[in-house]
């Protein structure tokens, strides 16, 4: 087995959290990934609750892979990019599918990043990568801690590069972080998992 393929089979999911100021970073990451990127990407981003579709449409205007806002109980498939729907919490269930919930807000947020990180770390254990980007509250910090506790890999966007650094700083306070990367470095890292060279 080549080093690349062993890497991409090592990880079963990449979970990305972000809030205020993360949109540009998300667009940059997604547009740098090839269509054939083999690991499912699950995104939990804070967004306006009453705008049901606007976010996906805004993202889709850029040249990024198709983004799926999963239905309740939708199976998680290789090579797909998922985004937590507005006004629902997004969890991962044993058996590799999503479930949605309308529970109380967590950290003033629904979807809450902590909740997505927590449930996915329970399912994917050391086979997941958690990435936390720019944001204005502390959501995601405790979630990063559960990713690390379960043996997953933790990456935060370099606070120096973030438009608003509250969120990555909270994660650095609360959890052991494996890598503090710029968006460009996050991209190179993800592509390396798949043996692809990135030129920014």
């Amino acid at each position: 087995m080549s080093p690349g393929s062993s890497h991409s089979t090592r990880y079963k999911a990449i979970v990305i959290g972000g809030s205020a100021g993360s949109f540009q970073g998300i667009v940059k990451i997604l547009s740098a990934l090839p269509d054939s990127f083999p690991i499912p990407i699950i995104m939990c981003l804070h967004r306006l609750k009453h705008v049901r579709n606007g976010f996906v449409e805004a993202l889709s205007l850029k040249s990024v892979p198709e983004i799926i806002e999963p239905y309740d109980k939708q199976p998680i498939k290789k090579g797909k990019v998922y985004l937590a729907p507005a006004n629902y919490h997004l969890s991962v269930e044993l058996g590799n599918y999503f479930s949605l919930s309308t529970e109380e807000m967590v950290n003033n947020s629904r979807p809450a990043i902590d909740l997505t990180f927590h449930s996915s770390s329970y399912v994917f254990r050391d086979k997941m990568i958690g990435i936390l980007l720019s944001g204005a509250n502390r959501d995601g910090g405790l979630g990063m801690k559960s990713v690390k506790d379960k043996g997953g890999l933790t990456i935060v966007q370099d606070p120096a590069e973030c438009m608003i650094d509250t969120m990555p700083k909270a994660a650095i306070d609360l959890a052991e972080i494996d890598h503090i990367y710029s968006i460009d470095n996050i991209i190179s890292f993800l592509l390396k998992l798949n043996n692809i060279k990135y030129e920014s």
């Binding site: 009453h50 309740d72 269930e93 479930s99 919930s101 529970e103």
Partner: protein, 273 residues
């Protein structure tokens, strides 16, 4: 937050409740059920063993049911759904029926029921509609019956109502009193509330429209299939079923007996018995 509970402990809890009280949480979606249980443990500073002891007491069970069920809801949640109901679905039902029967399955604290009553009043068809609203949780039913909503939620409810394009003002339908919005009691004149468990309960009546929105998301797929069979049986032929905007019948056994009427708002029509 986020105490991790063993699957073995979850099983001890569900087994006890099943044998002692005949409520079956075995097939609830695991991630949210685990979160609800850890929430109860944390709110009451309990260990799992202590929780299991306390569950022997029927009064504590009432509290447990109230906390385990998710009672977060909004009036006119998904305003575009309510517009579709007003402009397409209800007029379609009215073509063939003088009297309409509606079931809110899993009505929680009653926001959806009150929204329905307001909509029917503004459509001037209130008198022609009979509404049954059910929930597993008797405490929340009591609250729904009283028609009292937290005043702090009215801002969000008002925004939804404006997006729904209601013909009046939401403030005409309630009186603020301290931190409570007391809803116009006549809104609930045509509504009967009753306790009903979708999991263990029998099919009890037939309806033209069943709303079961964001209820089955707390069930696993096996249980979703079972409950959908009951909802199907509870509908007259050509009756309508509305589920949450991010729920889908695609993976369900019963999909073939329904026609998609509005895919965006997740409204289905029963076309086969």
């Amino acid at each position: 937050m986020m105490t991790e509970i063993d699957l073995a402990d979850i099983k001890r809890i569900t087994e006890l409740i099943k044998t002692r009280y005949n409520y079956d949480f075995t097939n609830y979606a695991l991630s949210s059920f685990k979160r609800r249980v850890s929430r109860i443990l944390e709110l009451n500073k309990l260990s799992v063993d202590r929780l299991i002891q306390k569950l022997e007491n029927p009064e504590f069970l009432e509290y447990f049911l109230n906390e385990i069920t998710v009672n977060v809801t909004e009036m006119f949640r998904d305003p575009s759904f309510w517009r579709a109901l007003r402009e397409k679905i209800l007029p379609q039902i009215m073509v063939n029926h003088k009297k309409i029967r509606i079931w809110h399955a899993g009505c929680s604290s009653g926001e959806e029921v009150i929204s329905m009553s307001i909509m029917l009043r503004e459509m001037e068809i209130e008198e022609d509609v009979q509404i049954i609203a059910t929930d597993l949780d008797t405490n929340i039913l009591k609250r729904a019956k009283e028609g009292r909503l937290p005043l702090k939620n009215m801002e969000l409810n008002e925004r939804n109502y404006v997006r729904y394009q209601g013909t009046g003002k939401l403030s005409d339908y309630y009186t603020p009193q301290k931190d409570i919005a007391i809803m116009d009691p006549t809104l609930l004149d045509n509504v009967s509330f009753r306790q009903h468990d979708l999991v263990r309960g029998e099919v009890f009546n037939k309806f033209d429209l069943v709303l079961c929105r964001n209820v089955m998301i707390y069930f696993n797929q096996h249980l979703q299939n079972e409950v959908l069979n009951k909802l199907h049986e509870s509908l007259f032929k050509y009756g309508y079923l509305a589920i949450g905007s991010k729920e889908s019948l695609i993976w369900c056994d019963i999909a073939g007996k329904f026609l998609v009427v509005n895919n965006e708002e997740k409204v289905y029509r029963k076309i086969k018995e």
